[in-house]
């Protein structure tokens, strides 16, 4: 099996190198054939690995020693268990779909081979990240996916907005990584190893260790967990490090689906789930996660309400859904978080690719106000988008219903500090989510077409390479809930790969509600229970209200906008995070740099000290030079004075 594990990421890397370095040689067709074959092999092998893991064959071992420093070995290795095997399937499946979709989406782009090179490289990096058995490799993958994200957001590098967005994404992620790296350093300091198994085994032993800080005594484990979580906040775009994700939509749509919705941005969620043995021991850290997550979930959903760019609506929806996952992590429902990660990966990739399909048809127009009425022209795109939206809104029996309902119920059962706030936030979020997702649907596909004549004449359904991935992603968006609800809840799905303290185990409490049911009975019980609770009705209300606003009474949104103008402006400005950061951090550091350069470096050090001393030497020597006149009587006079002075000196002393 070990060879298969190694083959899975390497086949993607290999394909990426071929497409990247020999793109001209293999041509367009060669590039996509090779990379798709690579990812397809990785997907099939991941299925094999998954089946093997289900049979109880987990793996934890090193591949090679990256470095040995101070007798601590830093190794590259794999940990293959239920969690990583699940992630591998999600990553390779979505990646495969996006690869196929790209053939259609990028068909006329000059950077065709380069694009395939990047997305295969991304798949490699993401696989290394989820398969890692240690913090070092995790960080490798972590930064490598960040790099590919940087390259892909800036894929159209002659667009000013794209190259601003990619630099912003990289730098904001670096702020997160700053915390993450310190967290890793703290792990090494506390445990003397970066190996997951060694660290997790030692966690209980140091849970009471403290460190003195200027603000009092801190628990080491809490500090470590929060530092690691700062990394997750960067990568999974949690408030206040979320600002890069909406801008990342400057990249081509396939990567918005793959990287900025389904996989990379969920790396933070995966990481915290992986670190469950550490986070479980610190309720402070869990509460932090919970509060940050719920804040993200509601704040970002609200911004989604006022967006008119079709991709940005989906982007804010992603931010909000990542918040939901983070909330699940915060209440120790790690398996539910990963469950939602999985269903979200399918339906959100579907929504993005659906949006992409619309964008192709609209000749790269992304403003929904210029769309409308597309459902008859693009039936497959419409149908799949409907499925995606229903799943996102959490309407039973679509996948999103099961995972989102499980999150809300978990929060309900939790008695952690902040859980009540989180409960209100996620409940409100349900309404908002349903509203904005159906607003998108109605504005784009219903009503009359508002585009210009030229565009309207050329409207058509997208080619098969585009619609096939949509259909392929629609299937799990419908079915994933049925399939995995039971094993996730009863704990058999993730087995021992996730650790939960009994007193935090809200999922177990949830499962007890379904005691006595199993299989399809449990599904019906869940749906039956779901439609009697508030979230379902909030979602339905959201859908209906969206229908009323955007299909029935088209003047209403404008009226509401006028009525709540201050709120609207706040949302439109996205709470002003961008402006704030731009002023304080970007302009601030440039100003500080200019000031230091001018006054400290060039002024004080170089001007006063270095050149100043040179100038003093110059002045003194200049003065002394005047004495050397070359006139004999001057020298004779000086000698006499000197002699007189010496005699005086000897006589007197």
């Amino acid at each position: 099996m070990k060879n298969i594990y190694i083959a899975i990421p390497l086949v993607c890397l290999f394909a990426s190198i071929i497409a990247g370095l020999f793109g001209k040689v293999v041509g367009r067709k060669g590039a996509h054939t090779i990379t798709i074959a690579g990812v397809a092999i990785a997907f099939v092998l991941s299925l094999v690995v998954y089946a093997d893991v289900k049979d109880g064959n987990t793996f934890n071992g090193a591949l090679y020693t990256w470095a040995i420093s101070g007798n601590i070995p830093f190794q590259i290795g794999f940990l293959i268990d239920q969690l990583s095997a699940t992630m591998m399937i999600i990553v390779t499946f979505v990646s495969l779909m996006v690869h196929i979709y790209t053939i259609g989406y990028m068909s006329s782009d000059l950077g065709y081979q380069r694009f395939f090179c990047y997305i295969s490289l991304f798949t490699f990096a993401m696989l290394m990240l989820v398969m890692s058995n240690n913090f070092l490799q995790l960080f490798f993958g972590w930064e490598a996916v960040g790099l590919v994200s940087y390259l892909l957001i800036g894929f159209w590098y002659d667009r000013e907005t794209a190259i601003f967005a990619n630099m912003k994404a990289f730098l904001v992620n670096r702020v997160g990584d700053f915390g993450f790296l310190l967290g890793i350093a703290a792990v090494l300091y506390l445990f003397g190893s970066l190996d997951y198994s060694a660290v997790f085994a030692g966690a209980n032993g140091i849970k009471d260790a403290t460190v003195m800080s200027p603000f009092g005594e801190w628990n080491w484990l809490t500090v470590t967990c929060i530092l690691l979580f700062i990394g997750a906040m960067g990568k999974s775009a949690q408030v206040p490090l979320h600002v890069w994700l909406p801008d990342s939509m400057e990249g081509p749509t396939p990567i918005s689906a793959l990287i900025h919705a389904a996989t990379m941005v969920t790396a933070g969620i995966f990481m915290v789930a992986r670190m469950s043995p550490l986070f479980e021991l610190s309720e402070t850290a869990l509460s932090t996660v919970l509060v940050i997550g719920s804040t993200t979930a509601i704040l970002m959903a609200l911004v989604g309400l006022v967006q008119n760019d079709i991709k940005r609506v989906v982007a804010y929806s992603t931010l909000s859904q990542l918040g939901y996952m983070t909330v699940a992590l915060g209440v120790s429902a790690y398996e539910v978080a990963i469950f939602h990660l999985g269903t979200h990966a399918f339906f959100k990739a579907l929504l993005f690719l659906g949006a992409g399909s619309v964008i192709i048809a609209m000749h790269h127009e992304q403003d929904m106000r210029k769309m409308g009425g597309l459902r008859t022209i693009m039936p497959i795109t419409y149908l799949t988008t409907v499925i995606g939206s229903l799943a996102l809104a959490g309407i039973p029996p679509f996948a999103g219903f099961f995972s989102k309902d499980a999150i809300i119920e978990s929060v309900h059962h939790s008695d952690l500090w902040g859980a009540q706030y989180a409960y209100v936030a996620v409940l409100l979020g349900v309404f908002v989510t349903a509203f904005y997702s159906f607003r998108l649907l109605f504005m784009t596909f219903h009503g009359s077409n508002r585009s210009d004549d030229h565009t309207r004449k050329h409207l058509h359904e997208s080619p098969t390479v585009v619609t096939f991935p949509l259909l392929a992603l629609a299937i799990p968006s419908v079915l994933a809930g049925f399939m995995f609800f039971e094993p996730v809840l009863n704990g058999s799905f993730f087995g021992s790969s996730i650790f939960i303290l009994p007193e935090h185990d809200v999922v177990n409490e949830l499962a007890q509600g379904y005691e006595g049911t199993s299989g399809i009975g449990m599904i019906f019980a869940a749906i039956g229970h779901g439609i009697q609770t508030l979230p379902f009705w909030l979602a339905i209300f959201g859908v209906v209200f969206a229908w009323y606003c955007y299909c029935k009474n088209l003047a209403l949104p404008g009226k509401i906008q006028k009525m709540f103008r201050p709120v609207y402006i706040i949302l439109e400005k996205k709470y002003g995070f961008d402006e704030l950061y731009q002023t304080i951090f970007s302009k601030g550091s440039v100003l500080a740099g200019k000031f230091l350069y001018k006054y400290a470096d060039a002024g004080l050090i170089d001007g006063t000290l270095v050149n100043g001393s040179a100038n003093s030497v110059n002045r003194i020597s200049g003065a002394l030079r005047k004495v050397q006149t070359g006139l004999t009587y001057h020298y004779a006079f000086a000698m006499i004075i000197g002699l007189f002075a010496l005699i005086t000196f000897f006589v007197w002393f």
Binding site: I68, S69, G70, F140, A144, L182, G593, Y597, V610
Partner: protein, 498 residues
């Protein structure tokens, strides 16, 4: 000649072969025979590089004693010896020197058209001298090489440099000379107290009281801090880089700065261990200051070479930080940082050189949209920029990572400040990339750019390969220095107070 003989004369060969080759080229070369001169220089530099490989392959990593030792009496009356040898610290630096010299010769191939022989000779002679600095075990020999090194660099900047080269060379010369003189005083003092030896290894064993140690430490500090360069004695470097021709900048950044770090390891720390620990706070403070303060200054530079020069200073802050936290990760990280910085800063200066050769400007605002016209070049630049930002998988990550881990053990606050480089380093590097490489083609000049040619691809590929290999698998380098560094740390831990 049997292999044993090679071992006993390899270092001498590495020092004197390039020096003799340089002098011969100077003798026979003229601009009419430029092609021959280039061929000869390349041949010799490759030969020296190949000859330096046995240093690695025959090196015994299980011991910290000096290897490839050569010892002969030089000036008997003062007990000055021609004493050479390498350990796990100096050996990798010698290999770095021989590799970079090959690249520098290639980089000057078409660019230098006047006084080709002198140019090539200067670099070959400098190569020998720099190897001499790393291989000397006698302090007088070391001092001679140390000072001699300034001469070819002075010439390179002074002749092939930019418009303000005279100011830059004098500043560079005076700055470093001033520091070196204090070092000479310290060496003479040590000669006296060590019972008449100039041997560096003997100096390591001399017992000294605290005040003396502090004075000696400060004297060495004057020499090495200028070379590194540490804040606040760094201001010669940006000027020297801006005026130096590309090859000069490469050697300056890649090798010469390492002499400072090497000096701290070879002299300051083992000779004055108690003072090193006593003054560690100063070293750490200055290093951390460099990481943040210099990074902010780098952010606002308009001249690409100046930006990379400031970036160098900031990165070298990691070296001095790593050294003076006195743990394995710190010191090994510092060494890795020195080696990696050799590749990355060298590569970045070459990249600026590539642009400068075409448009004769180093200013950021001259460019914009270079990627559209030079896609292969853009690929290289982005790779090196990422390496400069410490991306894992590149060599730039290894040193910073280890130093941050080591600093965290010493004091988490050191690690916190040092980690800011993750943000700042990426900020100034990527901002430059954004303005120069990406974006729309801004003017006719950029529109006329042609992509890198085969020669440029070769030199950049060599460095790209090193950056990636060392990033993915640094262990082969760490392995050879492991025992030496452990031994050094043990040595420092033992007080030398009488």
């Amino acid at each position: 000649m049997n292999p044993l003989d090679i071992e006993n004369s390899l270092l001498s060969l590495l020092i004197w072969l390039p020096v003799i080759a340089g002098i011969s080229i100077l003798a026979v070369g003229s601009d009419q025979r430029a092609t021959m001169v280039r061929g000869l220089s390349l041949g010799f530099s490759i030969l020296v590089f190949l000859l330096s490989i046995p240093l690695y392959t025959l090196f015994d990593p299980s011991t910290s004693t000096m290897q490839f030792v050569e010892k002969a009496s030089w000036i008997q009356s003062y007990n000055i010896n021609y004493h050479l040898g390498v350990d796990g610290i100096s050996m990798p630096l010698i290999l770095l020197t021989t590799l970079l010299t090959v690249i520098v010769v290639i980089s000057g191939w078409q660019v230098i058209t006047e006084r080709v022989a002198q140019y090539m000779a200067a670099f070959l002679i400098m190569e020998g001298i720099m190897i001499g600095v790393f291989a000397s075990l006698d302090s007088v020999l070391f001092y001679v090489f140390w000072e001699a090194m300034l001469i070819p660099m002075f010439v390179i900047i002074g002749i092939w440099g930019g418009p303000n080269r005279i100011y830059a060379t004098i500043k560079f010369f005076l700055y470093t000379l001033l520091g070196s003189l204090l070092m000479l005083v310290a060496l003479l003092y040590l000669h006296n107290v060590s019972g008449g030896s100039f041997d560096i290894l003997d100096f390591h064993e001399v017992k000294l009281d605290m005040n003396t140690q502090i004075l000696i430490f400060l004297a060495f500090f004057a020499a090495f801090a200028v070379k590194v360069p540490m804040f606040p004695v760094h201001t010669w470097l940006p000027d020297a880089h801006v005026e130096a021709p590309t090859g000069g900048s490469v050697i300056l950044a890649a090798i010469m700065l390492k002499m400072g770090g090497y000096g701290f390891i070879r002299f300051s720390m083992p000779i004055a261990p108690d003072a090193s620990q006593e003054l560690a706070w100063l070293m750490i403070t200055l290093s951390l200051f460099a990481v943040v303060y210099i990074a902010l200054i780098a952010l606002v530079q308009q001249d690409m070479k100046k930006l990379i020069a400031y970036s160098s200073i900031s990165h070298m802050g990691f070296v001095t930080l790593g050294l003076f936290i006195f743990n394995s990760q710190g010191v090994e990280g510092a060494m890795m940082q020195m080696i990696s910085h050799g590749f990355i800063s060298g590569a970045l200066f070459l990249c600026v050189g590539v642009l400068y050769d075409r448009l004769h400007s180093r200013m950021i605002q001259t460019y914009g949209g270079v990627a559209s016209k030079m896609p292969i070049f853009a690929g290289f630049v982005v790779l090196f920029a990422m390496a400069n930002s410490g991306l894992p998988g590149t060599s730039g990550f290894v040193g910073e990572f280890l130093v941050i881990l080591g600093a965290f053990q010493a004091n988490p606050w050191f690690a916190i400040i040092a980690s800011l480089t993750l943000i700042f380093g990426a900020a100034y590097t990527l901002w430059m990339i954004k303005r120069v490489i990406y974006g729309k083609v801004v003017n006719e000049d950029v529109h006329s750019l042609t992509d890198v040619n085969a020669r440029e691809i070769i030199m950049l590929s060599m460095l790209a390969a090193m950056v990636l290999i060392v990033g993915v698998w640094p262990n082969p380098i760490l392995e050879v220095m492991h025992v030496t560094i452990e031994d050094l740390l043990q040595h420092i831990a033992i007080s030398k107070l009488p």
